[in-house]
Chain length 148, copies 2
């Protein structure tokens, strides 16, 4: 929850309201997803991600994940570790592809990382992300087919 | 509900499970959206659409709509009428743009119609839609900025 609120309050990366309550956050990150993981070391949680079905019915073979890393643990490869883990979990759960629906184009670190991990930018939503200091910036849709 | 089930059972256009119950359908179409409209004539409902916020927080200026027309009322311009109505409602509700997240590329009629009504194809999700007879087809993301 501390990581969630730190990241959501910054308002630069995730499409959650800065006013999201603890109860809403628990619903978003723990209840609605199919699974949620944490990365724990020395008794502390440094990162977390969820995996869920992105669209029901004819879209249910594609999953969606969200990853968050504590500001105290950035630059250590934790996002890479969690993303690679999530792809393995996705396959085990029977998903064929993974989609990120709403990556702020201003979040260059994330865009670069997901590209490096094999995600293709398959969509660009013009001015769909209202950045707290940059104003309306494009949001990207990124996608990776996980199996043939 | 009759229109919803007719369209969802066909499985060709909407990312809802064919097993969606009446209760789930009511939640999807009536409870979760911000507003839901019906087109009624001669005491019967021929079409319906919902409007809702597509992404929270930094994405909350973009809305999403879903439209359904009874098979008994196709080809009469009802989808056009509802889509134009929804754009007016969107502006009244304070939205700046409208996004369709998951248009099956095989649904050529819809793609053509939304294009004609000013929606740009801003994304293509490879094999993201599992069509009952055509198998995995691409899904499109379509987008229209409603005001400057």
């Amino acid at each position: 929850m501390a990581i969630f609120h730190e990241i959501v309050l910054a308002g630069e990366t995730y499409a959650y309201a800065t006013t999201t309550t603890k109860e809403q956050a628990e619903k978003i990150w723990l209840e609605v997803p199919r699974k949620t993981f944490v990365f724990e070391e020395d008794g502390k949680v440094w990162g977390t991600y969820y995996i869920k079905t992105n669209q029901a019915g004819p879209g249910s073979h594609v999953c969606n994940c969200g990853y968050m890393v504590s500001s105290l643990a950035r630059g250590k490869g934790l996002a890479t570790l969690m993303c690679e883990h999530s792809q393995q979990i996705a396959l085990k759960l029977g998903y064929k592809a993974m989609q990120f629906n709403f990556v702020a184009s201003s979040n260059e670190g994330a865009v670069h990382l997901w590209s490096k991990l094999g995600f293709e930018t398959v969509g660009r939503l013009p001015k769909a992300f209202n950045h707290p200091s940059k104003g309306f910036v494009d949001a990207l849709v990124m996608y990776k087919w996980l199996q043939n």
